[in-house]
């Protein structure tokens, strides 16, 4: 399936100028920059360009890392992912650059398809990724309407999820919300800094509707309220909790959990050596605990623009080790 066009035609309404339209598009299309490619008296035509292609990356190693480690060009960064299923165990292992594609990997998982009970998400990530995607609620709770265009995303149809992800409707921080909306998550265990032992933030998550946009949004409530339990734990505690869970576990790792150097909202000051050390420690824990073989789906995101490109080669060794542990 070819990636959908990222061109958007916007009718001129009222006196709104192209700057206002650009701002609105930037709020709808995540991780994209609108570039005006043509206009008439009636219509503005924008191309929604991935931020990686539109802007010179702050991480100067990023483009070389993409090409050197994965053989992909700059404009392919946002859409790249590799998903594999073990034919014997039916476990799924997926590696991606943008974390957005984790949703597609979960939706197509053979084990999750066979057992529709809500799973536990073990989310190792510097961010909670509970942002609001640009999705309107659909007729059924596992379906969502696109913010523009006629398409519907169904969590039962991974191709629609892929299409929405590559169009920018979901975003790198909004891919968990659809699972919560569809009641497909039993609980979320969030490890924001694997090397730290603190945490224990507890909340209850539910899905509401943004009054400004009508999009679905995750709402955090005190833990006593009904909803999807959310706990922030350290890695060891989180692995223990996941191992004790009776249903399917979704092991989800964003490498920015080990080094969030280029985050525009305040990057971490972790050195390369410290980051690699933390990765090695996590690798040891994940494999020795058996959680990699326990998880129905393992998703790993390299997170360009957050996790430094200079560490991708080492990170891919980590990915490869986990993959072997998962499939062997």
């Amino acid at each position: 399936m070819s990636a959908p066009s990222r061109i958007v035609a916007v009718p001129r309404l009222g006196t709104g100028d192209s700057c206002e339209v650009s701002g609105a598009l930037a709020r709808i299309f995540h991780d994209c920059t609108p570039q005006l490619i043509g206009e008439t008296a009636r219509t503005l035509f924008y191309e929604m360009v991935s931020v990686h292609a539109a802007q010179a990356p702050i991480d100067i190693d990023l483009v070389a890392a993409a090409l050197g480690s994965l053989g992909i060009q700059r404009n392919e960064i946002s859409a790249w992912r590799r998903i594999e299923d073990d034919p014997l165990s039916c476990r799924r292992f997926a590696v991606m650059l943008e974390h957005t594609h984790a949703l597609e990997a979960w939706c197509g998982s053979p084990l999750l398809k066979a057992d529709q009970r809500p799973g536990m998400l073990l989310h190792i990530d510097a961010h909670d990724d509970l942002n609001s995607p640009s999705l309107w609620p659909g007729v059924d709770k596992w379906e969502f309407f696109a913010p523009m265009g006629p398409d519907v995303m169904s969590l039962d149809d991974p191709t629609t999820v892929r299409s929405f992800a590559t169009r920018g409707f979901i975003g790198i921080g909004g891919f968990i919300a659809p699972l919560i909306a569809a009641s497909r998550l039993h609980s979320i265990l969030h490890v924001s800094e694997p090397s730290h032992a603190d945490g224990h933030y507890v909340a209850s998550l539910s899905i509401g509707i943004s009054p400004n946009t009508g999009f679905i949004q995750v709402e955090k409530h005190p833990p006593a309220k009904p909803g999807t339990p959310y706990r922030r734990l350290n890695l060891t505690a989180a692995i223990d909790a996941a191992m004790a869970f009776e249903g399917h576990v979704l092991l989800d790792i964003d490498l920015d959990a080990f080094c969030n150097r280029y985050d525009s909202y305040g990057g971490s000051t972790v050195s390369d050596a410290e980051a690699l050390s933390a990765i090695r420690e996590a690798e040891r824990l994940l494999i020795s605990s058996g959680i990699v073989r326990r998880a129905a789906v393992t998703t790993i995101a390299l997170s360009p623009g957050f996790f430094p490109g200079c560490l991708w080669a080492n990170a891919l060794d980590f990915v490869d080790t986990l993959r072997k542990a998962c499939f062997n």
Partner: protein, 532 residues
């Protein structure tokens, strides 16, 4: 069977009195005669459509037709005399022995309204009809209706048109009759007309025989015209069609004969198929017709049009030599030329260029034509050009739609839909409101501007190739102006008497537009407003 026996078989001893004297006789003719006549009428007879105020039917002048040998007995003078005499005995009128025989064919949809055929002047006083057909059922209609008055409520009896059924009646001011509409069937009838002695009978020369025509047809068959392809049919059919068209337009005999032979030496667009001498043609149809044939084959068609427009004989041969003609001959050549168009264009309407060229030529000389010719050709070209415009606009719409779709229009988001769907919805909106072809094309094509094409003249020229000039201009104007500009142009028209459209983002450029264009732009604006 002798003529008298045949007459007795056809006509019973006494008529029925109501609603007026008439009779019905089944099994009227020997079956071999019925079969022979039917076979000939179905396959070889030269029917001619006759339309009048209360009927439309195909007619056949049997006196001028080459009736098969084995069927000629029914039309023999002795037979007709015998029938006339028997009519005298049956209807108790003294009859002349004069008679006339024609045939009628009604096809699906045709009907004959209520009428009397009231005899007046030298017209016939008695009729004998013989139905011939391949089986009839009630669903086929075509029954003969006898009525007591001029309204259908006065219906007296219905006579089904069973094959080989004869119906005879006396004509008067109250012999009301009609034929019900024919459905999915062909109704053939032989019509024998007789004259009572107390009425003047028609002059013997009432039917003008055309021995030359028959000769020409024999010649054309020998020439092989029936097997030479021409305009989707055979040459013979085309030549006969031209002659009939000329006949319909009231052309004199020599022009009709020239029409039958108009391409015999080869013309600009049709080669000769064998050597025929002018002498032979002249011997067959006479000098006047032969000259027309020669001129028609020799002339350069444009010079004919020039001659008509200039009202001077400027006719030139295709090699450029001036041809010696009179103005009367120019008019006759023009008529043959137009009959040629009228006959063949319906069959070759898919050749758009030919239709277009002929329509241009026709427009040029239209003012010099009689009303009969003009009205027929006006209707023909209106029909043909409408089909062409429809087909061309559909092609343009489809071409632009496909281009937009194939180049990503199906994925370009536009509100709650895609660009392709949005443009198609506008086109459908315009189409359902009978918008002109150029508005429909513009509805799709305006989506190219700003995306696949900017407003440069170079891009406009590319779009123009597919959309056509008028539609591209509308698409361009629509893309370059907003609703406020269109409304403002309306106001400007009311104030200053002309439409001036302000284009957006073009350094204050304005465009003078026609009332038709502003109405098309308003329609497009309404479409967009309703759809979005």
């Amino acid at each position: 069977m002798t003529p008298e026996e045949l007459a007795e078989r056809l006509v019973p001893d006494a008529p029925v009195g109501l609603p007026y004297p008439h009779f019905v006789r089944d099994d009227a003719l020997p079956s071999s005669l019925v079969e022979g006549l039917l076979e000939w009428m179905e396959t070889r007879a030269a029917w001619r459509l006759h339309t009048a105020s209360f009927f439309e039917q195909y007619e056949l002048d049997l006196a001028a037709s080459a009736v098969p040998q084995n069927c000629q007995v029914i039309f023999a003078a002795q037979t007709l005399s015998a029938i006339a005499l028997r009519y005298g005995a049956v209807f108790k009128r003294e009859m002349t022995t004069h008679a006339r025989v024609t045939a009628h064919r009604l096809v699906s949809g045709q009907t004959i309204g209520i009428h009397t055929d009231e005899p007046h002047g030298d017209s016939e006083t008695h009729r004998l009809l013989v139905h011939l057909n391949r089986g009839w059922c009630a669903e086929n209609g075509g029954e003969m209706l006898l009525l007591k008055g001029r309204d259908i409520s006065a219906l007296h009896s219905i006579i089904p048109p069973h094959s080989n059924r004869a119906v005879g009646f006396e004509m008067s001011d109250h012999s009301f009759h009609a034929v019900a509409k024919v459905t999915n069937w062909e109704r053939y009838t032989l019509i024998f007309s007789f004259w009572a002695n107390d009425r003047p009978h028609p002059p013997r020369t009432m039917h003008v025989p055309m021995p030359q025509r028959e000769q020409v047809l024999v010649f054309l068959r020998e020439y092989g015209a029936a097997s030479i392809l021409h305009s989707g049919s055979c040459l013979l059919n085309h030549l006969i069609g031209v002659e009939r068209t000329l006949d319909r337009w009231g052309a004199p005999l020599h022009t009709r004969l020239a029409g039958l032979l108009h391409s015999i030496y080869g013309t600009e667009g049709f080669p000769a198929h064998s050597d025929v001498t002018c002498k032979r043609i002249a011997a067959m149809v006479g000098r006047e017709a032969a000259e027309l044939v020669f001129l028609f084959c020799e002339m350069d068609q444009n010079s004919l049009l020039d001659s008509v427009s200039a009202r001077r004989p400027l006719l030139r041969a295709r090699n450029g030599a001036l041809l010696n003609v009179t103005l009367a001959q120019i008019d006759e050549l023009l008529l043959i030329n137009l009959a040629n168009m009228a006959d063949q264009l319906p069959r070759i309407q898919s050749l758009k260029e030919v239709v277009h060229e002929d329509s241009v030529a026709y427009r040029r000389i239209r003012p010099y034509l009689t009303i009969v010719v003009r009205s027929e050709l006006d209707a023909l070209f209106e029909r043909l050009l409408a089909r062409n415009v429809d087909a061309e606009s559909e092609n343009s719409i489809e071409a632009i739609r496909s281009f937009i779709s194939e180049t990503g229009g199906d994925d370009i988001l536009y509100g709650r839909t895609t660009l392709s769907s949005f443009l198609s919805a506008i086109e459908a909106w315009v189409s359902t409101r009978d918008g002109a072809a150029e508005v429909r094309i513009a509805a799709i094509a305006h989506g190219l501007y700003g995306w696949k094409a900017d407003f440069s003249e170079q891009n406009r020229a590319i779009v123009r190739v597919v959309a056509g000039e008028a539609a591209e201009r509308l698409a361009w104007l629509f893309a370059a102006s907003d609703d406020a500009a269109i409304a403002e142009a309306h106001e400007a028209f009311e104030g200053a008497g002309e439409f001036i459209l302000k284009l957006k983002g073009m350094q204050g450029r304005t465009e003078i537009v026609t009332p038709h264009e502003i109405s098309c732009l308003s329609m497009l604006a309404r479409a967009v407003k309703e759809i979005t």
